[in-house]
Amino acid sequence: MKQLQGCADMENSLELIAFFLLAGSLLTGALMVVTLKNLVNSVLSLIVVFFSLAGIFILLNADFLAAVQVLVYAGGVCIMLVFGVMLVQRKDMRESNPVNRRFLIAAPLTGALFLLIGLVAAKSPWVKEAGEVPENTIEHLAPILLRDYVIPFEAVAILLTVALTGVLLLVKEVKDNGRSS
């Protein structure tokens, strides 16, 4: 019994260490995203943020979501953003991510918001862990996604198709107009 308790404590402290490492890299990456001067460096530290986010998801027993996070965000979205930056920025890259005057309002506002949420989270009584998330989340996710949530699933599919078609039209149309004018 005592050995079991020791095992559980060990696991808890390992989880805690993993959490703080992941949270540290997540917040460092996020701060670098909003503070770095070069926009390309910002996008690259965004990749760090997304990988740490996937680690947090694994820590929370959401392995399918972690895989989706790496595939969609770190793979797709970041490459798309790098392409966007390269297409849009033609001048000097070094000062491509400037800060406007409003950060004087934004910094205290967001600091106050963080303190407020932190206070509420620290003061509220959390119930103990209700149960374990089952292993192999994808086997449990599939019937829920395709039976209970099939209408939102199809709606999201239609949204994705329409939006990406719209993206193609948007980029193409402006290109033609830009040439003619």
Binding site: F50, V68, L170
Partner: protein
């Protein structure tokens, strides 16, 4: 059980990420930087959804399902936003949000 992780850790982490995202969205001049900050905010929301899924309804999976929808809509949003920014850059030759004021009168 002092050492165990509880939901407040994840709530505080996601609050930190969310406020960093709000700060970026409010204080950046470049439209792509604002788009990136919005992505940070959506990631913070996903942390909350998955953490509450684990600690409160581990069998129902509703948090993870909603996180999947959030990821999908975020991908759509990035694609559409980038297309708008590229179109804007071709027409007006700027990506600074303060220059987009020709609806003002």
């Amino acid at each position: 059980m002092a050492g165990a992780l509880n939901p407040s850790y994840f709530v505080v982490l996601s609050a930190a990420l969310f406020t960093i995202g709000i700060y970026g969205a409010l204080s950046k001049k470049n439209a792509i930087a604002v788009l990136i900050s919005i992505e940070l905010m959506l990631g913070a929301v996903n942390i909350n959804l998955v953490a509450f899924n684990k600690y409160f309804t581990p069998e129902a999976f509703s948090g993870q399902i909603f996180a999947i929808f959030v990821i999908t809509v975020a991908a759509v949003e990035v694609g559409l936003g980038l297309a708008l920014i590229i179109a804007l850059c071709r027409r007006r030759n700027t990506t600074a949000l303060d220059d987009l004021d020709w609806l003002k009168w």
